[in-house]
């Protein structure tokens, strides 16, 4: 899953050096449009819908993976 997230982040915001601990706001300094672009890419990739409000609770790459696997039940 980490590899897929890395791939998406590279494609959307041009950043490839991320780890599970990478914080979207503090480390990558993303603005609200970057966040929306990442959501859109994830929605297309996994054919899911992610409400913008769900994103608030996601700070790190690890949070995102947990959200996708536990809340959205994406199995890999």
């Amino acid at each position: 899953m980490l590899e897929i997230i890395k791939e998406i982040l590279k494609e959307v915001i041009g950043v490839s050096y991320v780890s599970l601990e990478t914080d979207f706001i503090k480390d990558l300094h993303l603005n609200s449009f970057d966040v929306v672009n990442i959501i859109c890419a994830l929605e297309i990739r996994f054919n899911i819908e992610i409400p913008t409000r769900d994103i608030w609770h996601i700070n790190t790459v690890n949070d995102l993976i947990e959200y996708l696997t536990e809340v959205k039940k994406i199995a890999l």
Partner: protein, 554 residues
Amino acid sequence: MKNYPFYQVDYYDTVIDFVRGIGKKYSESPAITVYDKNGEKQTYTYSMLKADVAGLSVALLSMGLCGKHVAIIGENSYEWLVTFLAVASIGSVVVPIDIDQSDDVIEQMVLKSDASALVFSADFSLLCQELKEEYPQIEHIISLENDFPCPNFSRLVAKGTEEIAKGNDIFTTIQTNSKALCIIFFTSGTTSTSKMVMLSQKNILINTSSAPASVFIDQGEKVFTGLPFNHSYGLVNSVLSMLVTGSWLCINGNTKTLFRDMALFEPETFITVPIVLNIMNEKLWQIIDEAGKTKAMERYLKKKSFLTKLGRASQPSFLKDINFTLAGHNLKKIVSGGAFLNNNIIENFNAIGIQIIQGYGITECSPLVSVNRNELSKFGSIGLPVSYCQVKIENDEILVKGDNVMLGYYKEPKLTEEAFEDGWFKTGDMGYIDKEGFLFITGRIKDLVVFNTGKKVSPEEIEEYVLGIPWVKECMVYGSETGQQKGDTVIAVLVYPDPEKTEGLSDYQVLSQIKRDIEIINRNLPTYKKINQVKLKKSEFAKTSTHKIKRYNQ
């Protein structure tokens, strides 16, 4: 060049006159276009808009909502807009809720504003049902969509329309008071730090007509907005000001589809905030780069900045053959407000034949105070005062007087009194007026962090959360530039740790623990409010005589 007469624009004294007036004058012309999730287009004419507002007004009156406070909780939509117009038409009070807030904050907003009815979109159905069960003062909940077990928008419009067909003429005969409270906007910040700005029908309608009196908008002109309706700029200037001119407005309520909808609609005019223009600017340079014209563009801009004092659009020949598909092919004019826009972006867009018109407003002034004009603008300026309001500078502060200035802050007479000086509203912004009458902003007196999205955060709100961390004794929240792009602001906090509780620990240990606690706070904050940088301070903060932290002397 001297200022020239204002453009002629209709003025309506009450919202119901506005709805009747535009419905009659522009009847079968397209008023509102929306695209759904799949990109399917739906267009409503001015007649349809008027009929829907009339139907809903009649239904709301029969529910006993005359004079009540009605909160609207949902993303931008045609239904949102019709609800606003209907509630205001019957003389009731609209409370637009910022949906970028947590459920707890939304609950507090609903309670503080004394809402007795909640109108909501699907994402807020559960919250609104819970609020109705918990608080007896919330008498009604109304869904903007069809599939909920409570009164919904379509059913109410149909019911009211049926009443009208049977001879109910209340919508054609009702009179409301233009000076009465019409809308309560929440300013930046939430809970204890937010203020509720009370605006009358006259306040917002004066502003509605004065904006296009300064900036020409043609009848039938295709205009696009994605600004949230719960902000005064989004609702008054990007929607009502467009409808009063008979233009054709496309509304977007979802950042995910903003650029898609813009490309589909192909607007001539776009009303927005700086962050969106930053993104479009990147795309512009990408297109120029792909065409191999980067060097030529850089040379042109260097030369042009010496020669041009006016912000007028002019297109150099080497750019004429490039296909700039930033928002379809028709875009000629962009109105920007909410936060300050970098001058370079204005120049870049001018070079490709798109004029950017920058204005300045504040919710307490309904909101527009000044704006550059189509034929008269100045770089770095926020324009000339709009037709109805007077602006002056006193002790470097911008003061405003006129029919656009608010009734006051809801339930806060002391705050209201403090906001005025001899009948002039004190904006809290510092600036000056040049000899030609152009207004310039130089800074802020009030402690607000302004983002390039136009959103504003009161530092005290974030400080409240940070002070909840056990090891934090004092803290100061401020806006910090990321350095990635000019104007890209993030929230930063300077912390003075409690010396007793952190005795014997290294700075690294203290900072790590505080950062972990801040991560927990961040989990419940919307993206723009998340704390991005944390720094430690070795000594207590310098204080004023009233024991408040001196913000600018640390």
